[in-house]
Symmetry: C2
Subunit: 139 residues, 2 copies
DNA sequence: TCCGGATATTAGACAAAGTCCAGATTGCCG
DNA sequence: CGGCAATCTGGACTTTGTCTAATATCCGGA
């Protein structure tokens, strides 16, 4: 997939296309995630956004990430019991998690086949299927 | 698989077979998990074990669950960003998570096939593959 | 049985992630 | 400019989990 350059200016349009009012703080937070294309925790986003001078509060970082999540701009990845990661890649994909380093990387869903899953309980719909491969350095 | 009845008396042998010294507290905690065969959080274990009268401290509950984990007596399930679940079922299996209720149930690994996973980075070994089907009640 | 060391448990202080709220700011429209 | 909705904020608060130093329990040997 051809990748565009994620400038702050592009962020406003991206936010608007997801029905999010583009404010200064929201643009900075989106830029932190999309320019890096990495999985970031709220704490990491907080640190990135406030590197030069403090300009975004903790409450806003959490509120904004939750808003992005609701609007489908980012995805949540739950692999570490101590923190949630936010993922700017919303296309269907899986994850490889290096347990000793905490490094998290993507596995394209295209090449992975999952079959034999049981039928869902009546009245239920799948919200998502998370596949996490946990690896560690060989002893 | 034929299932035995998990009495407190059985717990001592189970603990010993996993190289765990069976103390009163450890037996109670193991009994909470194995007699129910459910996924429990530390908090839930704490509540169960202290129903009649307070007899096990928070520190011991956490220490013991971690010990059980290290000794392979239980397994950790990470699906909810706010708490870890402990699973007395250590046979390979996957999970179905009902996001609105928090209900967690097992999916037998036998019938599920996962193929096409990429090769691991050199020097890495798989510690486990977690597959979580997230479902919610239809709108 | 008594002693001493190793093992296990404890209360409570602490830390980290995340939530909540009431007040201040901002942006926009008339 | 004045009003109003939307947004942002500091800081108190909650929850989950960790740590520590003191105590209690267990067990093997004299
Ligand atoms: Mn700035
Ligand atoms: Mn008892
Ligand atoms: Zn990802
Ligand atoms: Zn399970």
């Amino acid at each position: 997939m051809m990748r565009m350059h994620y400038t702050r200016d592009n962020m406003a349009g991206l936010l608007r296309s997801h029905d999010i009012n583009p404010t200064h703080q929201r643009i900075e937070i989106a830029h932190a995630l999309f320019s890096r294309q990495e999985h970031l925790s709220a704490d990491q986003v907080m640190a990135i956004v406030n590197t030069r001078h403090s300009e975004t509060s903790k409450a806003t970082v959490y509120n904004t990430l939750k808003l992005f999540l609701e609007k489908g701009l980012v995805r949540e990845v739950i692999v570490d019991p101590s923190k949630v990661f936010f993922d700017p890649n919303t296309s269907p994909h899986h994850h490889l998690y290096e347990v000793d380093t905490g490094k998290l990387s993507d596995i394209d869903a295209e090449q992975v086949q999952i079959s034999g899953l049981p039928l869902l309980p009546a009245g239920m719909v799948t919200e998502g299927i998370d596949l996490i491969v946990r690896v560690r350095r060989k002893a």
